[in-house]
């Protein structure tokens, strides 16, 4: 029902920015009447869904399953990308490695720092002593850790390993892990485990071993005064790529460099590639759902003479369309919500480790992921576009055609 305002009335002649109380009151009354007129239609829609409980439950569950699978893939991809960017924002601007025909080789620490600092734009330069060594359960990343690394909260949490000692990541220790850790690189090391890093650090240190720098040198066959690679910090992110030619020129040996942006980009593309496989498999599922919804609602309309009866009783085309819209929303909104809640719980549950098993090749102990939630809203929007809108279109299309038909045709068909 629409409230008509007589032409030429005072309220029409009022300036646009003046609020007319009478007009406002009419508008509010109109809105209340609209709500009241839609409410019985809403109740009737719910009752109509109860008439087909099997189809209703089937549609709901199918949609929940589809939203869960797609939502999990989308959220995981978004979360991994944003977490990688977030965590690596504190990483060095550029990592420089010395290479030779046999591989990457150790570089002289002091000389490398001096040469790097001489490049305009470089704020800080430092060296790292690290590498990959064979542990009891597979390859491990071993880092030389000394007093210079103890910054911030690490001072309290991580003890400083002495010669022959090691602090290990949460993934290195297990129920049967002995106190002594055997590492094999260029040389063999036997280390006593003195502490374990908290599970919260799994995202970066799950299979990491922190040892005395002297032990790390011995393990990887790096001579005193040499380091595995060089880390460089610049003032601004964009400067990192700009100084790469200067950096490569300043060293008297061939180098290979990677910027922070490139490192983060590799993780983002890796997660997107893995989630992309899910998108491909979900397309037939989406089409199947749309077809199922179309057939169920079309079947309900064609097999019954409801539309004909409703129109014979005086229902308008809008009323019939509204009822179908309510039916679609009553199934669709809870299904999308339930699917999103399930996928959100799967991905963002603190310490979830299943993506490691499924996507990244972990076998025994997968790292506990603590993911960033920014981007979840974007994933929700994508799900609405990819699943909810096709669902709504498939649900409304049959009734659009039926609602404009002659009611006599439906009554005759019965």
């Amino acid at each position: 029902m629409k409230a008509k305002i007589p032409k030429g009335s005072a309220s029409v002649r009022l300036a646009q920015n003046v609020v007319d109380p009478t007009l406002e009151k009419i508008k509010i009354i109109h809105k209340i009447r609209c709500f009241h007129s839609s409410f019985p239609l809403f109740a009737w829609s719910v009752r109509d869904l109860f008439r087909y409980p099997f189809e209703t439950i089937l549609l709901f569950l199918s949609m929940v399953a589809l939203v869960t699978i797609l939502g999990t893939a989308l959220l995981l991809s978004q979360a991994l990308s944003s977490t990688a960017v977030l965590l690596l924002k504190n990483s060095p601007s550029v990592v420089v490695r010395r290479v030779n025909p046999t591989g990457w080789s150790a570089l002289p620490a002091r000389e490398s720092i001096r040469l790097a600092i001489s490049v305009p734009g470089v704020l800080r330069a430092g060296t790292r002593i690290w590498g990959t060594a064979n542990g009891p359960g597979g390859p491990l990343t071993v880092f030389g850790f000394d007093e210079s690394h103890r910054i911030g909260g690490l001072t309290k949490n991580v003890p400083l390993p002495k010669r022959g000692e090691a602090v290990v990541g949460a993934g290195v220790v297990s129920g049967e892990t002995p106190e002594v850790l055997k590492l094999t690189g260029q040389n063999v090391l036997l280390l006593r485990i003195i502490d374990t890093l908290e599970a919260k650090t799994s995202m970066v240190a799950h299979d990491m071993v922190l040892v005395h720098p002297g032990d790390a040198r011995r393990l990887f066959g790096i001579a005193e005064g040499y380091a595995s690679d060089l880390i460089v910090d610049v003032f601004h992110e964009t400067e990192a790529e700009a100084i790469l030619p200067d950096l490569s020129r300043v060293f008297p040996w061939p180098v290979r460099m990677i910027t922070r942006k490139e490192a983060a980009g590799i993780y983002c593309s890796a997660s997107a590639r893995r989630s992309g496989i899910v998108y491909i498999t979900i397309i037939p599922g989406m089409l199947a759902l749309a077809l199922m919804v179309f057939n169920i609602f079309k079947g309900q309309i064609v097999q019954s003479c409801n539309v004909g009866l409703f129109k014979a009783f005086g229902w308008t085309t809008t009323n019939i369309f509204q009822m179908q819209l309510f039916k679609a929303l009553i199934i669709g909104i809870p299904a999308v919500t339930a699917g999103m809640v399930v996928s959100y719980g799967l991905v963002f549950r603190p310490g979830s480790s299943w993506p490691g098993y499924l996507f990244f090749g972990w076998n025994d102990s997968s790292p506990q992921l603590f993911l960033n939630t920014s981007g979840a809203v974007l994933a929700l929007f994508e799900i609405v576009v990819l699943i909810f809108l096709p669902f709504l279109a498939a649900a409304l299309w049959p009734v659009l055609r039926a609602a404009v038909s002659d009611p006599q045709d439906f009554l005759d068909s019965k």
């Binding site: 109740a43 109860f50 591989g103 919260k200």
Partner: protein, 108 residues
């Protein structure tokens, strides 16, 4: 027959409209609440658990995450040029790298 008809009339769908509307409203309210909580959680959730990771990345100068096991190419992005072997790779660690074994001897 009349008795049956009266039974049917008593169970005409319209008599359950009140319950139906309540069920519908409850379902939608529940869904909206869950959606609101989802948005609230995703916007307000703090990344306090990532603080220690950030400190470790900063302290060690890490440029890789533990998403992928050690030794895999993606673990240390950019280090694995196909034309270059990893000197510190554990598999290569057991191979003498002085190249003496690669030189053909007269007896061969």
């Amino acid at each position: 027959m009349d008795h049956r008809n009266s039974d049917r009339l008593n169970h005409f769908p319209a008599d359950r409209l009140g319950i139906s509307s309540m069920v519908g409203i409850l379902v939608l309210v529940f869904a909206m609440t869950a959606l609101f909580l989802f948005l609230l959680d995703s916007s307000l959730r703090s990344s306090s658990e990532q603080e220690e990771c950030l400190e470790l990345v900063r302290a060690l100068g890490l440029n890789s995450l533990s998403l992928i096991p050690s030794g895999r190419p993606l673990r240390n992005p950019g280090t694995n040029d196909p034309s270059i072997d990893l000197r510190f790779d554990p598999k290569l660690g057991q191979i003498p790298l002085d190249g003496a074994d690669l030189v053909l001897k007269l007896s061969d």
